[in-house]
């Protein structure tokens, strides 16, 4: 075990003695910072901001994949480490990891700690997704938490998550308003933002991530849909007031 750690440290020292490697690693980290800052200051759409944040994660992964690939290549003697050849492996692997992270890992982590809801909320979402012309209705999951919360995730199979705390705090009509709000986020594509934002918020200080998160305009659109379906904004406003208390 310790022998292997020594080996990796030696390889790391060698890796960083090469000026080109250092430049590539520094460039990827600089681009990662640039992406998160640009998503903060430029007025991109929700979909673009979520792509930028996933690219940010991919660029953070790049040095790790680059180092691991270089090490493996040397060990296996597969590539006589030409830089271009190494990058031909590294770039697709990093992109695949970034995509897998955003489309599979994050949604899977959320699904893993929740139970599918096969009752009235699933039927409710199924009906309204059909009316919206969505090809597949998002799955509804119940999260075992007493905190009243609702959120949605994207990936290959979009899903809406509601906590037990939410179910016991809101009335039926208020729950429907919240579910319609989340459904509208999924239709608009802004749902992808929430999980990645929550993840980055656990690592970065709030002021860096917050402006890249859901904008008021996107929230307003989701509210407008719920109000349009229910023909009143009373239930949505009451639900919001309860959740803000």
């Amino acid at each position: 075990m310790w022998g292997m750690a020594d080996h990796v440290i030696d390889a790391g020292t060698l890796f960083f003695q090469d000026g080109t490697n250092v430049t590539l690693v520094a460039a990827s980290l600089a681009f990662a910072v640039l992406l998160i800052l640009s998503s903060r200051y430029l007025g991109f759409s929700a979909r673009t901001r979520s792509i930028l944040m996933h690219a940010h994660v991919a660029l953070l992964l790049f040095p790790l994949v680059f180092f691991a690939t270089t090490l493996t290549c040397k060990q296996a003697g597969l590539c006589e480490v030409g830089l271009t050849q190494t990058l031909l492996y590294v770039i697709p692997i990093t992109l695949a990891l970034g995509l897998a992270f955003g489309l599979l890992v994050v949604p899977m982590l959320h699904r893993w700690r929740a139970q599918p809801e096969a009752g009235r909320w699933q039927r409710f979402i199924h009906r309204h997704a059909g009316e919206l012309g969505m090809r597949k209705a998002p799955d509804v999951f119940i999260v075992d938490s007493g905190r009243p919360e609702a959120y949605s995730t994207g990936g290959l199979r979009p899903a809406i998550f509601i906590t037990v705390g939410m179910s016991e705090t809101l009335s039926e009509r208020q729950m429907q308003a919240v579910l319609l709000h989340e459904l509208a986020h999924i239709r608009e594509g802004s749902y992808v933002l929430k999980p990645i934002t929550r993840l980055l918020q656990s690592v970065y200080p709030e002021p860096i991530v917050a402006p890249a998160a859901m904008t008021q305009e996107e929230e307003r659109k989701a509210d407008a849909y719920a109000t349009w379906v229910q023909k009143t904004n009373v239930h949505l406003n009451r639900a919001k007031r309860k959740l803000a208390e």
Binding site: I142, D144, S145, G146, R147, P148, V164, G165, S167, E168, T169, S171, E172, M175, K242, L243, E245
Partner: protein, 119 residues
Amino acid sequence: MVKKADAVSDVLSPLESKILETLWESGGEAKVREIYGRIRKRHPCAQTSVAVTLDRLYARKLVSRRITTGRGGLAYIYRPLQSREQFQKSIVQQAVDRLVARFGDSAINYFDEKYRKNK
């Protein structure tokens, strides 16, 4: 002399102690809505605050909970994990253990003297 009920609020927030007191008084299990209904008469608060506080008490292992499905949908039924007496005893135990760990023999000698005096 601190009253026994006040001793609970020394280690918990006001709402936490109100919730635990309500659960002890109800003699067993209760849902968020029921607890909220009883508390708000004496202590104005939001139902959401009660739900979040109960979630925190659950995380601190002071209450247990199970999910139930009723007309209003899913809800938790909460139950205190300790009686009021057990809870107070555990607070005293923690306080004494902390003193002994910090002051060693001095704390033990003090308790010994005090105990003899009272005897």
